[in-house]
Amino acid sequence: MLLKEWVAMLLAGGQGSRLGCLTKRIAKPAVSFGGKYRIIDFSLSNCNNSGIDTVGVLTQYKPLLLNSYIGIGSAWDLDIEGGGVFVLPPYVGEKGGQWYKGTAHAIGQNIDFIDQYNPQYVLVISGDHIYKMDYSVMLEFHKNNQADVTIAAIQVPWEEACRFGILNTDENGRIEEFDEKPKNPRSNLASMGIYIFNWPVLKEYLIQDSQDPESANDFGKNVLPKMLKDGLRMFAYRFQGYWKDVGTIESYYTANMDLLADNPEFDIFDENLKVFSKSPILPPHFIAAEAKVKNSLVPDGCVIFGEVEHSVLFPGVYVGPGAVIKDSILLPDVRVEGGCLVNRAIIGESSVIGPECQIGYGCNETFNPAEITVIGDYINFPKGVVIEKGSSISEWQDGELKIS
């Protein structure tokens, strides 16, 4: 029997519907971010940087694309015999199968998977946050406290505290109360949805929870409150640093743009806790004589003839002569033909913007989140299309546009 100190279970099930047409084709963890990454890269890289060699990825929405992105995990150094990264869709037994109901249900359905490794600890994380964290430091904290459960927590602005699960602790960090989206928060310490459990303890609770027909099978709503009630040793591990949920178009846009600051709070150039990613095989990018590129991120495979300012480009983007890209995000393999104007827009993977289109036209200079223009994946605009600021285009056929 194998015996591992810990394994990680990564919850990547969410469809991420608030990201609109960006998640029409792929699950949220597979959405591109930061010029060459996908959102799940950050969690997987954290695992690698923390010395975790076994990761179960729980997914159900469009699992095939995630499966093919993760592959055998070699991008994150997780292609390890006796460990590795496993995509775990819901299991079909002889009597059929069903989607995961809640976070605890997803882990509960994979007890056998975890038991194979016979781990002392299980780390539960989610695949849709942008942050760098060495989980092994959190594990040390967990061990030193002889804790049953440790929850990573971060201080949020008081005015936002009401949107989070708030942890009220004693002076040693032991959790005394668990306040899910409190109206009058007693603290601003918010749960980051990162948990370390002693596996035998968690297993017992998961089995109990699965037998409770009343339960929503969710960690935050059911399992953790029950554990607290039973008096388990639960501690809050305070994390300092950048941590962002990019769950909405606005937060996604802002988090990308944050990287363009002179000394960004989240530094992808920092060699410490490196972010790994599956790189497409592309040559260095090319910037033509007449092009202008300023205050932007440009990865491999891009070809720029036009003007790019304060924008994030992804691999394989083409910007034609005379095109002007400003304050925008162009996802992988986007092709913007000559003479286009693109302003404060997000353009989805492999979309082609024909010559002289205007996207996000008429934006004023004051930032208004509602005015981000979003074009979905694989959209094909002919010459001269004008898309008004704030639109969201998920389909385009013969001049008819479907605004989602």
Partner: protein, 367 residues
């Protein structure tokens, strides 16, 4: 199966081959020279590849590892690094040194493929060897050599040599001086033949004491069915610092860029996991090829930046090749220079080379 061997003395690249072999000289913003040949082979379905290398093998080893990036980290076959028979320093320019292959005769014997592709290590192109093998089979050839038509302007000896080829592709002659002003068929130093025929030739070479395969072929034009396959694409021939510089600069033509990196399949190289390149507010770039992980705060024109290069504020870089992790501090002025890896050019330095004779700065220098 494929074998990549050394055909040139490695001294011709001077400082660039001081601490590395020709195969591992950086090229094109992201690659090592061997990446192109290796990728062409892999893209053409060749998965048993031997690389013959000189004693300066360490950087090549580091680069290739077990061949994972090329899909060659296999239990059976895959990538094999083979020793050269003699240190490159003693090596003359010889068109395929069979001595190197004699040294690795056992490797040839153990391989199971019927056909073998032998190439040098200083030609860079994107070529489909499957087509060439089809040509070889269709002509029922015993040997297929490769050529490219070029108009030659000078009647100087070209050590690569030229093939005389009939309309049906049959080779009838070989010579070292071109016809001026006409199209000549310059040899690409790539050869397809049956593995067992090569083994026979090695035995012959051993008996005769002449190890130059091109000589042996030229002497047996009548006895062997030798055909020549025409390559029509972009070709970079690296045989001096000047040609190295010129060929890198040719990549700044988007058509060449596209052909070399996409035509018959991608070019694989070691993955470094660097972030995207960041252009600052005051960056100014025109006609540049830039790898990942650079930070550009100054002016760059008509140049190639490898991965992880920093260009400081107010710096001006023109007609230059800047290799990996090199740091150009503020207000530096560079023109016609080649900076090797991890060089540091301190504030305010000015370096200008001649138009066709760039200054080369060795690895890890601080200037």
């Amino acid at each position: 199966m494929g074998i990549i061997t050394t055909t040139k003395s490695e001294d011709i690249l001077k400082e660039l081959t001081q601490h590395r072999c020709m195969s591992s000289v950086p090229f094109g913003g992201r690659y090592r020279m061997i990446d192109f040949t290796l990728s062409n082979m892999v893209n053409s379905g060749i998965h048993n590849i031997g690389v013959i290398t000189s004693h300066k093998y360490r950087s090549l080893m580091d680069h290739l590892g077990a061949g994972k990036e090329w899909g060659l980290d296999r239990k059976s076959e895959g990538l094999m690094i083979l020793p050269s028979a003699s240190p490159s320093i003693f090596k003359k320019n010889i068109r395929f040194d069979l001595k190197d292959l004699y040294e690795n005769y056992e490797y040839l014997e153990k391989s199971r493929q019927k056909y073998l592709l032998l190439t040098g290590n200083n030609m860079i192109c994107n070529i489909n060897y499957k087509d060439a093998l089809q040509f070889h089979l269709k002509n029922n050839a015993q040997v297929t050599v490769f050529y490219k038509e070029e108009i030659c302007h000078e009647k100087t000896i070209n050590e690569l040599g030229f093939w005389d080829v009939e309309a049906d592709g049959r080779v009838t002659g070989f010579h070292l001086t071109p016809s001026v002003g006409e199209k000549n068929k310059v040899s690409l130093e790539m050869i397809i033949m049956e593995r067992e025929l090569l083994m026979d030739m090695i035995q012959v070479a051993h008996a005769m004491g002449n190890w130059d395969l091109a000589d042996i072929l030229a002497a047996n034009l009548n006895d062997l069915r030798i055909y020549a396959y025409q390559f029509k694409g972009y070709l970079a021939k690296i045989n001096s610092v000047e040609s190295y510089y010129k060929c890198n600069m040719e990549l700044l033509d988007p058509d060449v860029w596209y052909e070399l990196f996409f035509k018959n399949g991608p070019i694989y190289t070691k993955i470094k996991d660097g972030p995207p390149t960041k252009y600052a507010d005051d960056a100014k770039t025109a006609k540049v090829l830039v790898g990942t992980g650079c930070k550009i705060m100054g002016n760059v024109e008509n140049s190639i930046l490898f991965r992880g290069v920093t260009i400081g504020r107010g710096a001006s870089v023109k007609n230059s090749i800047i290799m990996q992790k090199t740091e150009i501090e503020e207000n530096v002025v560079l023109e016609n220079v080649i900076l090797d890896k991890e060089v540091r050019i301190r504030k305010g330095t000015i370096l200008k080379g001649g138009q066709d004779s760039p200054i080369v700065i060795a690895k890890k220098s601080v200037i």
